[in-house]
């Protein structure tokens, strides 16, 4: 049981992620030699892979599908062991309707703290290892995700991960989960909150280098595996004249939703591309306006300096004392270069929509040929 008691010790040694009271001083047991290599108190072993428990998979899918709001968030709980981040539980975070930041942040923190406390009482894992977010058509880039993950990577052990679940892919028969973290170069730029062009160039940032993907595994514990096995087993019907559907019913009949020929999602996808391109254009317009303003101000400042220099030269020629060189920055307020983060994120969204459209289209082509082959 060394592993679990160590886990408690690790949880206690964490800079408490939320307001949860730290448990009483943990009792240390001698670490057996076989485990000594895989337990790292200082979080030195880098994360290789994220492992998602079956329970978490269903919880995220249910929350994402039932929620009425566009953004679905929840916290992931688990442990890391020898480079594997095991996510064993998750809970949904309430959606805030109001924008009263102070109040909602506080109540959200309270909610998290009491949820974690409650889960600990029933021996569930209670250390936060990241969060999940649901998305449609693969476009998960947004400010919100970046902000939360930036905070997590500061505070959490190993920096935490974000799991992105794609609702529209799941509806098409391919349950999609991906794990991400922010790249160090992006985090560096984010900490300085500097997304000017030079900073982007220095950090070599494009939308594809904001996040790095962490390999993800799904795991089912043996108990759940055996239970699922009994669910998929079909039992012959007792009725002699059952129809084909009811002759050998099983709780989980095989599904072939991937073969659906419908193209309902395509229009939505195209619409969303147009929408994203529109907002990108607006954002670009803003940026262009701001940079023109900067250029104008700068030109005026340069003009002023040049004029002053000329004047001074003239005065020196007439043996007069030169006028003092005034601080230009004080006279002319040159606005700071605008942040390009938003436009970069929007480009990332456009790319994701395009990717999802391309993959749908290629699937559709295969489906059409296979349907034709069967006629």
């Amino acid at each position: 049981m060394a592993a679990t008691s160590m886990a408690a010790a690790l949880a206690a040694s964490l800079p408490a992620p939320t307001a949860a009271p730290t448990p009483a001083a943990p009792t240390y047991e001698a670490i057996p030699a076989s485990m000594a290599k895989v337990i790292d108190i200082e979080a030195e072993i880098p994360l290789q892979v994220v492992q998602l428990d079956g329970l978490v998979v269903t919880k995220i899918i249910k929350h994402a599908r039932e929620s009425s709001s566009a953004t679905v968030h929840g916290l992931l709980l688990g442990l890391d062991l020898d480079g594997t981040l095991e996510v064993s539980n998750a809970f949904a975070l309430p959606h805030h309707v109001s924008d009263e930041d102070e109040k909602s942040t506080k109540s959200s923190a309270r909610y998290q703290a009491s949820m974690l406390r409650s889960l600990r009482e029933v021996q569930a894992d209670d250390s936060v290892v990241g969060f999940y977010q649901a998305t449609t058509l693969g476009a998960f880039f947004n400010q919100n995700l970046v902000e939360i993950q930036a905070i997590h990577q500061e505070k959490l052990r190993h920096g935490g991960v974000v799991i992105v679940h794609d609702l529209s892919l799941t509806a098409r028969g391919n349950a999609s989960f991906r794990a991400f973290r922010l790249t160090s170069s992006f985090l560096d730029a984010y900490k300085k909150s500097n997304f000017s062009t030079t900073s982007l160039v220095n950090h070599r940032l494009t939308f594809s280098s904001i996040l790095e993907e962490v390999p993800l595994q799904v795991r089912v514990n043996p108990l759940l595996a055996s239970f699922l096995g009994s669910l998929t087993k079909s039992t012959p019907s007792l009725l002699p004249d059952a129809s084909p559907e009811t002759a050998a019913p099983s709780v989980l009949p095989p599904s072939f939703s991937a073969l659906d020929l419908g193209t309902a999602g395509l229009t939505k996808n195209l619409e969303q591309i147009i929408e994203a391109v529109d907002s990108y254009r607006t954002e670009e317009g803003n940026l262009a306006f701001l940079s023109r303003q900067i250029a104008r101000e700068r030109a005026r400042a340069d003009n002023y300096v040049a004029k002053r220099k000329e004047e001074n030269m003239a005065r020196v020629a007439q043996d007069l004392a030169p006028l003092p060189e005034e601080d230009v920055a004080r006279l002319f307020k040159i606005p700071a270069e605008p942040s390009r983060l938003e436009s970069m994120l929007l480009l990332g969204q456009i790319d994701a929509y395009g990717k999802s459209l391309a993959s749908t289209a290629s699937n559709n082509i295969i489906n059409m040929w296979s349907a034709k082959a069967s006629i």
């Binding site: 799904v218 795991r219 055996s226």
Partner: protein, 303 residues
């Protein structure tokens, strides 16, 4: 689809008696969402050594007339039982319910679960407690056998209770089994498929994410295997090696005979139009992606 044994009683609600609006009817069918079951299994895995069974609260919705109960999720509740007494941590239960209702406001307490098929006096007492929580509706009880103990099959049973005896006492009641089904949305189906595939995989782990193409490939090869199996069987029957099953033959005719068989020309035309549309979309998607890529690179050289 029905879960568990066939011993459940299908209660026929008597339509002749005018249903009083104030008195909710007894639940006659119960559906369970997979997430509730999986939570129970997880709770069972995490029990302490001295706990023979675990219990928890079921959350869900009811149909307007109260005859159908949909269990949507569940959470664990602390309890202790020994030879003399049983105790349920009510405060914990209230806190958890309050926390859950902040996210899913629609879900109300519908009953409780326990692992194992053992129904005893304590079950009746807990049932009595939950009946107070769900009043005026009846509480339901879901018993999940994990299959981890010897001689029991994994399965799910659901019960409603009715008082028994001349003077109703909380520790006396009859648990009446009701039919229970697994229910999930079609769009959640692929999540379950993912888990069943994972359960069959070595080490019970699968790497993610699976691309749509790989997924499609797997589905198509399943279909092709099924066709091969049917074809092999039909050949065997034709060769006289096995005696044909008439029922099976009819099933095959029903299943394979439904395809649209129309004149060739129209279909080809429709196919070609659709193919061109799809190719166009594919081209468009790639164009959009390359534009985005170029645009983000240009932002870097603008300095």
């Amino acid at each position: 689809m029905a879960l568990g044994g066939s011993s459940a009683i299908h209660i026929q609600s008597s339509t002749t008696v005018p249903a009083l609006a104030s008195v909710p009817r007894t639940p006659s069918s119960i559906t369970v969402h997979p997430v509730a079951l999986f939570s129970i299994l997880d709770h069972y895995l995490r029990r302490t050594d001295d706990q023979p069974r675990v219990i928890g609260t079921l959350l869900g919705t009811r149909s307007p007339d109260g005859t159908q109960v949909h269990v949507r999720s569940s959470f664990a509740v602390l309890h202790s039982e020994n030879d003399e007494q049983v105790a349920v941590d009510m405060e914990y239960h209230r806190t958890m319910y309050e926390l859950h209702s902040r996210v899913t406001a629609k879900e109300a307490i519908v009953g409780w679960y326990s692992t194992g098929s053992n129904l005893n006096t304590y079950s009746a007492l807990i049932q009595n407690f939950y009946s107070q929580e769900t009043a005026p509706h009846q509480a339901i009880h879901v018993a999940l056998t994990t299959g981890a103990e010897e001689g029991e099959e994994p399965g799910v049973q659901a019960f409603v209770s009715s008082p028994v005896g001349v003077f109703p006492k909380p520790e006396n009641c009859i648990f009446v089994p009701v039919p229970v089904r697994l229910q999930y949305q079609e769009s959640e189906r692929s999540g379950l498929d993912l888990l069943t595939q994972t359960a069959l995989a070595p080490n019970s782990t699968t790497a993610q994410p699976v691309t749509s193409i790989a997924n499609l490939d797997a589905t198509l090869s399943t279909v092709s295997q099924m066709l091969d199996r049917v074809l092999a069987y039909v050949r065997q029957v034709l060769a006289g090696e096995v005696e044909g099953d008439k029922a099976l033959g009819r099933y095959l005719m029903d299943t394979l005979g439904v395809g649209p068989i129309s004149e060739k020309g129209g279909e080809d035309k429709a196919f070609n139009t659709s193919l061109q549309d799809t190719l166009m979309i594919s081209y468009l998607a790639n164009l959009v992606r390359s534009q985005a890529e170029v645009s983000t690179r240009l932002a870097l050289v603008a300095a």
